[in-house]
């Protein structure tokens, strides 16, 4: 149970104590970090976990000395015993990249677009090796580093420009820059958030390699408790600019004590759950950091809040003492005034938060074959021409975004459509919503083929087919009050003003908002509330089928659970059918009845959600599932990951035969003749069991979760 003790050194690499950071803003001073203290030892991984706005990124930028000049910083940051706060830019620049390196969140914008990748890595060496490193040496070393972080054909690729690299490759290049000078400390700020789950697994692997090569201490910042479970030694949970709980990773996952940590852990749907688990929603939203009222900042959202919590802000209390020989603080501490209550509930999130599993709809009891089909997609094809270049436009070929996929959804059922970005799942969805004749195959909604619809019939079908979008910010017209937004579909379909006036408050109530919210504008709501407004709008016309395009992926974890629960409830209450598009397989596992896995415009595996998740047969499904981190350090350490090599090939030029063969881990192990089959013959979709189709020549069940 105890984590591997960090290698003994005299002192921690990094010591932050009493760090305060604040910024001016239009509404007042934002206190982004308030009295933060932590240490990192050499060779140790510290995970900092928190939601957006908790101050986790700001604190790490402070360590790098990269905060904007208007930030006010106090406290102390000591790197190898040397104070960083107050140093000049010239002094700091000797440290940055040499001793302390950083990996940023968004790899797409982290590299300068106008210089080759290799040159940007070499620059890191040249800056710090003035006079000792020649240009040729630096370039040669840059190629070695690219090779080290797993870029194939490194010598060639070093000459490429950033835009010719995929997101995953760019993040590797950024890591290569970070480790170029063998730093003592690497700070990784959400290094995998912008990446697909398969690429995330690759990048985490690279980070592990980087740590082994450099022996550096690592600070990994994330909002995903799954990502750090298998990676970090110690964890610090931040809320409203403060550490609210910290300790060794195993202790924190096994015995969380602060209700917020408890809620975070309980709000994650788990891909390894066999039975449906209740999801814990944390109601409300993080406080504004402009003027925090006294008391515990988590109090308004806390199920255990008491009067005392409103008055005093709790300090960190030691729950378990630190290891005596450790150079850093390994004690388990939590900042809560109601620790006894948490302990009394045995730290069971569902119990503390009172979450329950949503009951199934009565319709779900009827066998599938006897229910009406609400959506039937047959051999759907969507190809389009692409042009390349901003100035010199040219036709780059045909993108086979969707290349002959079939699935159906019956009444009261949820089908999850999953795959990496670029696999064609969103295109499929837009094709269905367009209700226009597809370029190949057919789409039938509620038994009506959309190719033959008249304008009037099409409008009638739009009543029954509604959509909820991914980005709750973009899905609502910012210029319209919420009441008008929800009423818009009813106005389009000619409902009377009176009927609309009665229906709007009803809908708001249905999604857990208050009727008086109708007069407000979207900007006044939080992300979760906005997504609820989007759901209310989708339900206004009492549809039969709701298409959900990544409805929770833009939300913070604590908010996500509430929306998932709401969707689950509404489905049962209103007998809805869902087409649920997501890249997060754990969410699909939680909410879907059936799941279809897409790869490069094809469905590679489809079937009952339990069968597909527990006995996946397609190597791609297996790799996807294996890449998902589980928020359980013990389990994570025992798992072996299937790491896919490379990136998704371009859908404009898919591989012959089986499209997955270029990244398949089974393919290289096959004999020459067997491989030939994969290269030449596209695997047909064949039924492996009742409601379980797989498109692979060598399908074989592997347990990966």
């Amino acid at each position: 149970m105890t984590p591997t003790p960090p290698p003994a050194t005299d002192a921690p690499v990094l010591e932050v104590s009493g760090l305060d950071v604040s910024f001016p803003s239009e509404s007042g001073r934002v206190h982004a970090v308030r009295g933060l203290s932590y240490q990192v030892a050499a060779g140790e991984v510290l995970g900092i976990v928190g939601e957006s706005g908790s101050g986790k990124s700001v604190s790490s930028l402070a360590v790098m000395g990269l905060l904007p000049p208007q930030a006010r910083i106090s406290g102390s940051i000591r790197f190898r015993g040397r104070e960083i706060i107050g140093q000049s830019d010239a002094e700091l620049s000797k440290l940055r990249g040499k001793k302390i390196a950083m990996v940023f969140q968004d790899p797409l914008s982290a590299l300068t677009p106008v210089y080759p990748v290799g040159a940007q890595i070499a620059e890191a060496l040249l800056v710090h090796g003035k006079g000792t490193v020649t240009k040729e040496q630096a370039n040669r070393r840059a190629v070695e580093l690219l090779d080290l972080v797993g870029i194939p054909n490194a010598a060639q690729r070093a000459k490429s420009f950033p835009h010719e690299f995929s997101g995953g490759m760019r993040q590797r290049a950024v890591i290569a820059i970070a480790i170029a000078n063998d730093p003592d400390l690497i700070i990784a700020d959400e290094p995998t958030t912008a990446l697909d789950v398969t690429v995330q697994a690759q990048v985490l692997e690279v980070l592990k390699t980087a740590q082994e090569v450099t022996g550096a201490g690592i600070v990994i910042i994330t909002h995903d408790l799954g990502v750090v479970a298998g990676f970090a030694d110690r964890l610090m949970v931040m809320y409203a600019g403060r550490a609210v709980e910290q300790g060794p990773v195993d202790t924190l996952y096994a015995r969380p004590r602060m209700p917020y940590t408890l809620g975070l852990l309980g709000s994650i749907p788990r891909v390894d759950a066999h039975e449906k688990q209740p999801l814990v929603p944390i109601e409300g939203q993080p406080p504004s950091l402009v003027d925090l009222p006294g008391g515990c900042p988590f109090e308004p959202r806390c199920p255990l809040s008491a009067d005392v919590c409103r008055d005093t802000e709790p300090a960190l209390v030691t729950l378990a003492p630190a290891a005596p020989d450790a150079v850093v603080d390994t004690a388990h501490r939590a900042a809560c005034l109601r620790l006894d209550e948490v302990t009394a509930h045995h730290a069971d999130a569902a119990e503390v938060y009172g979450a329950e599993v949503v009951a199934q709809a009565p319709a779900a009891q009827v066998p599938r074959a006897e229910r009406d089909t609400v959506l039937d997609v047959r051999d759907l094809v969507k190809h389009y021409a692409v042009t390349k270049g901003a100035v010199f436009r040219r036709r780059a070929g045909t993108v086979r975004a969707v290349d002959g996929i079939s699935f159906d959804i019956v009444a009261g059922e949820t089908l999850g459509l999953v795959g990496e970005s670029g696999c064609g799942k969103s295109t499929t969805l837009m094709e269905i919503l367009d209700l226009a004749m597809p370029s190949g195959g057919s789409v039938a909604v509620l038994g009506k083929d959309v190719a033959t619809l008249t304008a009037k019939e099409r409008k009638a079908i739009r009543r029954d087919l509604q959509v909820v979008f991914q980005d709750p910010m973009a899905a609502l017209d910012p210029r319209m009050p919420v009441g008008d937004i929800i009423a818009e579909p009813m106005r389009v379909h000619g409902h009377s003003a009176g009927a609309i006036e009665r229906r709007v408050p009803e809908l708001l109530g249905l999604v857990g908002l208050r009727p008086e919210h109708a007069d407000r504008y979207p900007a006044e709501f939080s992300g979760g509330q906005r997504q609820r407004i989007g759901i209310a709008r989708a339900l206004a016309l009492e549809p039969k089928l709701v298409v959900l395009d990544e409805p929770v992926s833009a939300l913070d974890v604590s908010i996500q659970a509430g929306v998932i629960n709401l969707l689950d409830e509404l489905k049962a209450k209103l007998g809805l059918s869902y087409l649920f598009v997501a890249h997060d397989l754990s969410v699909v596992r939680h909410i879907a009845d059936r799941v279809a896995v897409m790869y490069l415009g094809k469905v590679v595996e489809i079937g009952d959600v339990r069968t597909v998740f527990e006995a996946p047969q397609h190597p791609y499904t297996q790799a996807l599932l294996s890449a998902i981190p589980i928020p359980d350090p013990v389990k994570e350490r025992e798992r072996t990951r299937i790491i896919l090599t490379g990136d998704l090939p371009s859908p404009a030029d898919p591989p012959s035969g089986c499209r997955f063969r270029t990244r398949c881990f089974v393919f290289p192990q096959l004999s020459e003749e067997d491989r030939q089959r994969c290269v030449e013959l596209e695997p047909p979709r064949t039924a492996k069991a009742d409601d379980h189709d797989v498109a692979c020549h060598y399908a074989k069940t592997r347990e990966v979760v």
Partner: protein, 319 residues
């Protein structure tokens, strides 16, 4: 639209916020005040000024400012104050109307081109390219012999006709972004017809940009008008504009400076005030374009990113 009361109330809330932000920018408020003052002065000068613009004082040629000739007189005894006010009137009116028209045309053409795409877009953008090759000054001055002696409304129309293209491109660019926004897609998927989507979702979401752009266009239109008039291609005698007055005074700038510097000063102050007010408006409508820091420093002076026709810089003004 059927619920006017809450909508109006909430809109008023936003309006108030914008107003408060605007009022905080003292320079912009001063600029707006100056425009209003100029407007009032220019349109009411007949009530209080001792001379009319087309009246000649035979006893006073080339008089410096004194007595009843507050701004002096010109070569033939015309009163410079009356003429400047008359010219200001013309220039302000032409500028405002032309800007209004051109922004209107630009939003219609740009939104249609961006939303419908395909051939609509290609044709519209080809026309834009064509008109951009032909500078407005060139076309209007070519046409000037044809409208000589006709109403100055033609001039307004012509200035507007050749000034909308850059705005239209900008609007098109923003429409392309907005078209992909999910709330527009949502409206489309609920069966809202295209023209209603443009009217209800696309144009209102560009309102800030259009308002800001209209103010920029006022300045541009005033400069275009005075430039044309300077060469005698715009407002024609006996009527006057600031451009004709400046042209008249520019030969005598060293001998009878008031003939040049007074109308020129009014022109520069007007355009400057329009630009500063527009800039303040941009800050108020689109706070993301400014940085909060300077609020704290209370240094709300001239500085902002003034980029009248850069697509990237104004993209932030969507919301």
């Amino acid at each position: 639209m059927t619920e006017p009361s809450p909508t109006a109330a909430a809109a008023a809330g936003r309006g108030k916020l914008v107003l408060r932000r605007f009022l905080r920018n003292r320079l912009a408020v001063a600029a707006l005040g100056l425009i209003v003052l100029f407007y009032l002065a220019a349109f009411t000068y007949t009530w209080y000024a001792p001379w009319a613009y087309d009246e000649l004082d035979p006893a006073a040629n080339l008089l410096p400012p004194e007595g009843s000739h507050w701004f002096g007189t010109n070569q033939i005894g015309g009163d410079m104050f009356a003429q400047t006010m008359r010219g200001l009137q013309k220039s302000l009116t032409i500028g405002l109307l032309a800007a209004l028209f051109s922004t209107g045309v630009a939003s219609i053409v740009g939104a249609a081109a961006g939303y419908f795409g395909g051939w609509t877009d290609r044709i519209a953008m080809w026309v834009v390219d064509l008109l951009l090759i032909l500078p407005p000054f060139l076309i209007i001055s070519i046409l000037s012999p044809a409208f000589r002696g006709k109403t100055w409304f033609i001039l307004v129309g012509l200035i507007a006709l050749f000034q909308w293209m850059i705005t239209a491109r900008m609007v098109r660019g923003m429409t392309l972004t907005l078209r992909e926004r999910e709330f527009v897609k949502a409206a489309k998927f609920m069966g809202q017809p295209a023209w209603r989507i443009i009217a209800k979702h696309i144009v209102p979401n560009m309102a800030s940009l259009l308002i800001i752009d209209a103010t920029v266009n006022v300045g541009v239109a005033i400069i275009t008008e005075t430039s044309l008039s300077f060469f005698g291609f715009g407002v024609q005698a006996p009527d006057v504009s600031l451009g004709t007055l400046i042209a008249n005074g520019s030969d005598a700038v060293r001998t009878f400076p008031w003939l040049f510097y007074i109308p020129a000063g009014f022109l520069v102050l007007t355009v400057l005030a329009v630009n500063f007010a527009g800039d303040g408006l941009r800050d108020a409508l689109d706070p993301s374009s400014s940085r909060s820091r300077r609020r704290e420093r209370k240094r709300v002076a001239a500085a902002t990113q003034s980029t009248p026709d850069s697509e990237t810089a104004t993209a932030g003004a969507v919301v």
